[in-house]
Symmetry: C2
Subunit: 204 residues, 2 copies
Amino acid sequence: MLTPVRKRSDYHHGDLGHAAIRAAKNLIDSEGLNSLGIRRVAEATGVSPAALYRHFENLEQLKAEVSAQIRLELGEFLKAKRDRTPLSRSKSRNALIRFEALGEAYIDYARKHPRLFEIAFIHCDEKPISEFGDLAWELLQESIKELDEVGLLDRKIAVAAPMIAWSSVHGLAVLVAQRAILQREQDQALRQIMDGVERALGAR
Amino acid sequence: MLTPVRKRSDYHHGDLGHAAIRAAKNLIDSEGLNSLGIRRVAEATGVSPAALYRHFENLEQLKAEVSAQIRLELGEFLKAKRDRTPLSRSKSRNALIRFEALGEAYIDYARKHPRLFEIAFIHCDEKPISEFGDLAWELLQESIKELDEVGLLDRKIAVAAPMIAWSSVHGLAVLVAQRAILQREQDQALRQIMDGVERALGAR
DNA sequence: TGTACATCAGTGAACGCGCGTTCACTGATGTAC
DNA sequence: TGTACATCAGTGAACGCGCGTTCACTGATGTAC
């Protein structure tokens, strides 16, 4: 009763669908996508492999669910970090601060969860990963709109701005996640890139 | 004698090491990294699985060799495409043309060989993928130096320039390779990104 | 130039393993009466 | 409120498969004499 792993009984799990996705996520986070398998997830959830087929058609579908879940969490991570950033009294300075917070958070997630990050955008469904990652993309759009409102966005580049910002930071994030760039060089690289993006957008 | 698949005899292959790397590369290109295996490569090379252990310690080492080979080919691809680009008579225009050619070639490779591109920078050795990819990185440095020489590089951003350019284009390349961006939007995205990079570097 | 022999690059069979998936089943749940 | 029973979420054993790697071996190569 103190720590009821199973909600209803020892026979029925009660929430196996969600538990499986959570377990799969942890598995990937610690051992990589190649370690993800029906049997491993079943073991981690304390359930027989066959049980998972009540909740997922096959391994591929489970993967897709996990991938979507990670995209969602990445978005929420970005949002949380941006909203936790201390603001100044200057409205225009704040737009820039919040913009930079998104970039930092993005790199931060890639560093903390490289394996999750790597598969966040992987094509596992047939769906074309709508809008690049839904929430994250919306946050970026929003932030660029804020820059525009305080006059920090060059009209000539407005349309291209989201793509430029996304691609620049995403490029670094991938390198960070792949450990292709040394830990101590990452912060410097991010500053350089945010500098470049802001120059491109006309914010400085 | 007309088409000697085996160089020396039917028993000894003659060049199994290189042939195996080539076969492995083709396998990845067409079926993805997960299809790469000792047995598959052996089959494709017309040799027994055990034979490969005369040339590679294990699967992991074969992977590493292939990865290095792909990085080399990517560099050569960039160089070839840059040098094939028609030039104008303006020296400063040429620096920009050659710079843009590198960006285009990078995306081009990612589009044509998404699976090869994906593993080009993957960490399979213990080596930290020296210099981001050796030849490709050198070509970028060289190109930025050319921009500098014709006065198209803002002094303030000179140090950061390679990182900015690399990260921006790499970000798009990854999205392209992952099919996370639609075919017909890719060209537009590249133009936007090169625009952004050139604004950042002070080239326009 | 001819031959004995060490060297080396192959063969082929076998090993143990973990995998995704299926199937007949069983035990708990919750609804109709 | 109590009971019969359909429904549903689990079990556990089994399937066939392809994998990386090892091992004793064999056949070709090339060198020393």
